[in-house]
Symmetry: C2
Subunit: 308 residues, 2 copies
Amino acid sequence: MAITVVGSVAYDSIETPAGRRERCLGGAATHFSLAASFFTEVRVIAVVGEDFGPKQEAVFHARKIDTRGIEREVGKSFFWKGSYLDNLNEAKTHQTDLNVFAAFEPKIPEVYRDSEFLFLANIDPVLQRRVREAMPDVKLVAGDTMNYWIKDHRAALLEVLKGLDILLINDTETRMLAGNSNIVQAARAVMAMGPSSLVVKHGEYGATLFHRATPKGGSAERSFKVPALPLEEVVDPTGAGDSFAGGFFGYLASQPEQTPDVYRRAMFYGSVMGSFAVERFGTERIAELSRKEIDDRFMQFRELTHLD
Amino acid sequence: MAITVVGSVAYDSIETPAGRRERCLGGAATHFSLAASFFTEVRVIAVVGEDFGPKQEAVFHARKIDTRGIEREVGKSFFWKGSYLDNLNEAKTHQTDLNVFAAFEPKIPEVYRDSEFLFLANIDPVLQRRVREAMPDVKLVAGDTMNYWIKDHRAALLEVLKGLDILLINDTETRMLAGNSNIVQAARAVMAMGPSSLVVKHGEYGATLFHRATPKGGSAERSFKVPALPLEEVVDPTGAGDSFAGGFFGYLASQPEQTPDVYRRAMFYGSVMGSFAVERFGTERIAELSRKEIDDRFMQFRELTHLD
């Protein structure tokens, strides 16, 4: 079933211990939709400037991603410049130019309206909420956010959380949002804000899935852990979290029912896509990936974690 | 089959966000042997002072641990005072009194000589090596160390590593020992120093087992990951790593053959014992544990990680 994703399509200039790239295609919606496209139909809502041309569009079309919701405005696309020279787990931001993104007003194309799955990538919670409200009939809504919105736009963010089924954030964001340093207690507090499932991403240590305990469901929340793949070289961590989200939500959307077993497999596919994303700069690795490579790596994750 | 362990038996004064305890029974050999005792016969080599009495000895004897190798000397036992107020993952040391431990000369009782498994807990590598050389016929040797020995006693430590089958250390220690920040490359470098297996402990993120690739065994090292249990309250992290080692090595020693599958299960038992250790202060939780609780938690770890 189709996913509509709203978020940024951008250019990134990145420096890591493995090298540097100037203005490669990036943005949360880009990384998410490329990863999700291996599992299901994906439709993007974003805004770009005049610097977004046929070459960039071809990256989406090669993966059969619907780009009719990507608006073209006069000016330049969102631009981010960052480095990971000291710490591969945390980007140092050198420059952020919102450009056409500053006036982004997401519009939902009519042809997107029958999407049953909605992903709200990390953008202003005011916009996330607007898109959520414009698509009231979707079956499942997932979203992402970041420390900036948690700290300085809490009220707007709390409104978004009420409309989410699944939130995907990292450890620090979970603790910050809950105001609690214990991750189990923090996860419970975050789920009380709305989402019935929470995926906490741990960078090189993988991710944990928490489900809210139902009133009938006993005392303890169920949880599930997936590691990250031990990699000999992390070329570029940019987009790893969005690729995880794309693999996770893409797999969920590809299944007729979202059972607990499907969520577990979705966590594996999330970590699989995250592990590919970091192997090369920007979208380079995922854009040329094959389904067979994904399945092989899924089995590698199974080997890495299963007793037999 | 029996394990001989050499290491510290000590008193710890501990402060954590959950409270404080004065002079509770601790030390690496204590935590290790209690955890391992649920799986196999354990024999301790250590030194204590006149403050080690029948009450402390009873903790070992209740778990049928052989204490004939614990020497009594005039003076006081090793004493450590630390806190975890800001960070449960890293102790802040306030006081270390070596006391009788300063002149520790490990002696191996004749009745220990048929032990087939040897664990060298974190002590001066000069002593670790001496014990290793005094027991040349053991089947499997594992050991631990810490940043202090890695930084300032590297030559002695490298001699110890040559005689180890398995080394258990944390991420920071692995990177420091290898001089490499990538954990896969660092693990390979450490295994080239001697041990054919390396367990890298990640604190709240679990642990990774690396095996050295054999010349015939293809290009990539095999690895296996076990998470830590998400816990609502960590009362006292002291001894978690030693309890992990006790569960891991105790299970290995309990099995007729140490196959790759047995190593995987051993990783689970290590994380199980670590998860219990932190639930109460010092040895309180492990000392009163039942085998049924261990098996139940093993199944909980399976649930937490397995697709089906």
